[in-house]
Structure formats: C-alpha cells, structure tokens
C-alpha cells in the first residue's frame, strides 16, 4: 500500500527505506552513478583543482512563491560553486524528515530538485535520508554538498585577487526579493503581497560571462545578509574601499513597499539568485551587456566602483546625495516599533 506520510520506518534502513528511495529519490534523481547504489559515489575528475562546498536548508515555509526548499538546496550549492569560478558537477543530498511529513510534498520537492539539477547540468550522485520523531525537526531539512571543477586557465574568483581601484561593481538584478518573499509567505503579518523569490541556479549566466573571456576579478553570491553584507565583508577582508550608488540599485516595488512597512533595509535582505561581480573597468560595459542578454541578468547594473580612498570601508551615496557607510549586519533585522 502506498503511504501518504513519512513514518519513522522510512528511516529505519530496512524495507520501507528502500521503498522510499526507489519510489521517490531514485525515481527523480536518476543517473548512472546514483543507480550503482554503492556506499560512495566514485567520480572521475580530471583536473588539477576542484571546488567543494556544503550548505544546509531549513527554510520556513517549505513552499513559497518562486520556489521551494528543494530548489533552494540545489541553487544554493550550484551558486556557491559557480561564483568561485568552478563548473558545478556533482551534488549530494541529505534529507532530515519529520515523522508524519506528507509524501506528496516530499515528492514535489524532490521533483523540483531533479528538474533544477538537470537544467543546471549537475548530477545528484549520493544521498541520505533520516526520519526523526515528530517535533524533533521542523518538517524537512535538506543538506546539499557539491563538487565543481576548474576548467583550464580559470582561477578561484572568490578571493578578490587583483582587485584594484577603478574596477567596477556589478549585480545581475533586483535585490531583496527572496527575503521578502519568505516574509510575505509566512503570512504572520497578513500582508497580501505576492513577491516572487529570485531563487535560481546562476551557473549558466556566470559561464556566459566567463566563457567570453572578460576580466572578472571577484564574484560572490549575495545570499543571507544581502548585498550589504557581501560588500562589508569584502572591504574588511581585502582592505579595499568601495562606493556604490543607491540610485543604481534595482528593488521591486512590492519588495520596497514591504521593506518600508517593516523598517527593513533592502541592502541586508536575502537573495538567492544574485551574483556580485567585480570587473576591470575596460570590460565592465561588455560584461553588463552579456549579463543583460540572459533572462537572469536582464536587470543587471553597474552599481559602484572600487577605490583606494577609504580602504576598509564601503560607502553608499544615498538617493538624495548623502553618504552613509555599509556595515555588516549584526543579528537579525527586527521590525520597528515606532
């Protein structure tokens, strides 16, 4: 009989586990390596260096406009690999499931993961499932790890090597959509906003730029902590100065409205499909055009520049011409009371 919900037995390692793996995981994540069902996936990697990353996903709600936890779990890891300059190749997927979790929801999530992995050209080659007692985890947690390789001649772009005054800062579109989509979807606030998360795999967009041979010096995906945190981290680690322009930032109307209402600063609101690039001045316009050609980069813009004037600080010229510093976000942003 087909089960409608996850039972503790599905994590027992016995017959029910096999059934779950067969009927859900293997069914969607089919590939030659996974189908061997061995303890370890054995991978052929013909390259001098690889990129390796891991991330856990605990989003609430699991389904939100623009995606679900599965889409996040694939995109998050694919993007972490891609911004380092690597080509993502293999993913692992670990599931921690609360007893009683609806089977159809699990299937929907796994199906999304398979589709997105497929689109991004990565294989989910190993995985794990644990079922915990009701109340011991919140519905479903997913961990994904990923391996990517560096094609010949490409170096690690996460370390900001060679970034110098005059370089320009780009981002591939509107900020703050994911964070506010989640806030709106939680519906604790009864705000009738329908904000779509920007959750997406960025590898295709990133290659279109790297493969064209432009001088990209640094990349980072602006996820938790938002664009502001990426910039603040960058200046504190690399002792460079940055200046950006508030009027160059794209923020969707609904996202802006909700931020205003709640007293959030969109600079610090999470994204799940945004990459910040630092590009040499000569190539910046060409990179911008390349980004704009891609559906995930159509709202791309050059938002600022690197300067040696105030090393260690990131500044923003505000929309009215004032200057303010961009500092690392401490703790969570809280709604205002007054």
């Amino acid at each position: 009989m087909k089960q409608n919900t996850i039972l503790l037995g599905h994590g027992s390692g016995g017959k029910m586990s096999s059934e779950l793996i067969e009927s859900v995981f293997s069914r969607y994540f089919q590939n030659e390596i996974l189908s061997r069902q061995t303890d370890s996936a054995v991978l052929d990697v013909n390259t001098a260096s690889i990129a390796f990353t891991t991330d856990s996903f605990v989003v609430e709600p699991l389904f939100f406009p623009g995606g679900n936890i599965g889409k996040l779990a694939v995109a998050g890891t694919v993007n972490d690999l891609s911004v380092s300059g690597a080509v993502p190749k293999y993913l692992s997927a670990g599931f921690i499931i609360e007893e009683g979790f609806p089977m159809d929801q699990l299937e929907a999530i796994v199906k999304t993961m398979a589709e997105d992995a497929d689109k991004a050209g990565v294989h989910i080659v190993t995985g794990d499932t644990k079922v915990v007692d009701k109340g011991k985890c919140d519905k479903l947690f997913i961990n994904t790890s990923g391996i990517g390789y560096f094609p010949e001649g490409r170096r690690d772009l996460g370390i900001a090597k060679g970034v110098e005054a005059g370089d320009l800062i780009l981002i591939n579109g509107a900020i703050g959509s994911h964070g506010m989509a989640i806030m709106a979807a939680r519906n604790e606030l009864n705000i009738g906003a329908n904000i779509q998360s920007d959750c997406a795999c960025l590898n295709d967009l990133i290659y279109s730029v790297l493969n064209a041979g432009y001088e990209v010096k640094f990349m980072r995906d602006a996820t938790r902590g938002g664009l502001g945190t990426v910039l603040a981290e960058l200046v504190s680690k690399h002792k460079i100065g940055l200046q950006i322009f508030e009027k160059k930032l794209v923020i969707e109307q609904q996202v802006r409205g909700m931020c205003e209402l709640l007293g959030f600063d969109p600079l610090y609101v999470a994204n799940e499909g945004k990459v910040v690039m630092i590009v040499s001045k000569n190539d910046a316009d060409a990179v911008l055009n390349q980004l704009k050609k891609h559906p995930l980069g159509k709202d791309a813009s050059i938002i600022g520049f690197v300067t040696d004037e105030y090393a260690g600080k990131a500044w923003m010229e505000t929309i009215v011409g004032g200057k303010r510093i961009i500092e690392m976000l401490s703790g969570q942003q809280l709604p205002r009371i007054c």
């Binding site: 606030l189 600063d265 505000t318 009215v320 709604p335 205002r336 007054c338």
Partner: protein, 360 residues
Amino acid sequence: MKYIDEYRDGDVVKQLKDEIVRISTKPVQFMEVCGGHTMSIQKFGIPSLLPENVQLISGPGCPVCVTSRSYIDKAIAISRRDDVIITTYGDLIRVPGSTSTLEKERAKGANIQVVYSIMDALMIAQKNRRKKVVFLGIGFETTTPASAAGILKAKVAGLFNFSVFSAHKVMPPAMAALIDEGVPIDGYIGPGHVSTITGQSIYEDIPKKYGMGVVISGFEPVDLMQSILMLVKQIEDNEPKVEIQYTRVVKPEGNIKAQQMMEEVFEPRDDWWRGLGILKDSGLKIRDEYAEHDTERIFSDVEVEPLIEPKGCICGEILKGLKKPKDCKLFGKVCNPLNPVGSCMVSSEGSCQAYYLYNR
C-alpha cells in the same frame, strides 16, 4: 513608489540644501527626539548634506533606550513563572537587564513571544485562557493608543488573563527637561508619529517658555531637509514657534479618538528616564478602572533581582545629546549590536546602533 519617491527626490533635496546654506548665518544645533528620525537621518546621510554650522544631535527618541533596566528585570522575573506568556515587540527581546535578557530567558524555556501588534497578544490570550498573558507596553504617544485599545478590548471580551505592563511615556516633559539641563539645543525636529496622535498643542510651551522652535517633521529626506530649513528660518527671523512640516499626516489637533482612548485607560505619573532621571508626569499608569489588566498590580509580589547598572556605558549622556556614540569607550568594541551593553545599541532606533550601522 507613490508617496515616497516624491520625498526622496535628489533635486529637491539639493534645492533645500542650497537654501539652508544661503540663509543660515549662525551656528545652530537641532535635536531630533524620534527614533525614526535618527534612523532616517543616518540612513540617507543627511548630516553630510548640511553646512558646518548646522549640526544635528539625537535625543531620547527611542522608547527602548530610555526604559529603565529595572523594567526589564521585572519582565524577566515575571517571565520565569510557569503560568505566564510574555508578548512583546521584537526590539525589547535583546535589551540587557541586570543579569539576563528576555532572549536568554526564552532560550532557557520561558514562554516569550514576539508580536507585531497588541492584537496578536490578545489572540494569544484568547487561545491560552489558563495562562496569564502579559504584553510589554512600551513607547510614546505612538504606541500608547494601541495599548489602550488592547486593554479596552480585553475588558469588553472578558479576557481577564490579559494584562499590559506599562512603560509608556510622553515626550514633552523630556523635551523641556533637556533644555532645563542646559543641553545646547537651538530647536527641535518634532516627532512625526507622536504628533500624529497628539497634535501640535503639546509643544506650545517650548517656544513660549524657552524661546525655541519645534518643527514637526516627516521621515523622508525632503521632509527632514525642509524641517531643518524651517528651523533655520525661524532662528534667522527670530520667530520661534511650533510648525508642522509633515502636514500630509499630522493635523494640528491630532487624532482625537486616539487621545480619548489614551485618556480613558491611562493617567500620568512621574517616571524614570535613562539619562534624565525622574521627570514629573512623564509616564503613563493604567487607571484603577482597568486594574485587572495592569501587570504591575497583578504581579506586585514578584521578586525581582537587585539592579546592576553597566560600568562605562554613557547611554545617559548620549540620550541627552551631550555626547555622541563615538565618545563612548565601549562603542564598537565591547558594545555592538550583537552584544549591546547599553540600550541605545539594542534598538534599531537607538543612536548608538544608528551610528554603528551607518556612520562609523
């Protein structure tokens, strides 16, 4: 975005800036007494737009910041009781008490829930009839009407398990006290939200008694620049008065209905302000008619730990505008938003946090 973009127009701001530069001759210092203004001023970089002779200082406009440590200690003591659910706005959760915070108590198992409005707290009381639900009522005239409405609703609905722990305060006594204490102020940027409720009459004493202007301002850059221009003009013309810049929201008479609700539920009492001490008639106490919804009376027997004030913290002087956050030895080092020593670093509207985030 309509009703916002018009007030963030760089060209208009520039015109206002040029006009301020053109007419201002004297060195002046204006104080904002609303946390929302403090935040906006830093967020839009307003000080960098003003000429040298026009300075802004932040006053005691953040309700969390002026609240006494003993209030937090008492809330913590109440939260330790098994039969209690504490409901609170998010800002209070990390404010340090003498030895703990509500956040730490929650981690230890106290039932403390962050709500966005007092109506959420009432819902919690409705669903948990066997628990005593306490709402931490904090804020100036802005949030007080909501607390009053909550108490009135609880009374009508017979929700006797619901009470409000009032730390509500009113703004004018603090504004007068700052001048009395000799804080160098040449004019007030009057609070926008407070005035929406109270109207302008509550400030009339300030020009009358002290010869100093008050301009009730909105929160956008154009609002703030225009208010500063109006204050400069008052000074140059030597005509101190109460004016409303934020006319699209604030009516001279205020919101009468909200005032009536406040009046119905609360009465004035002397209250303690961080940095200012006890100010006459500056706090709000729940009236006898609503005693069954007054946390102070319900939990009058709760034992509270002895008060310990933090060493080296100059929140008091910062709230009075006598010192800037940068003058504090703890600022940015021991004291930061993740590990706030004083209350000014806790709230997103506190001067220390605003300086930390936008102007360090």
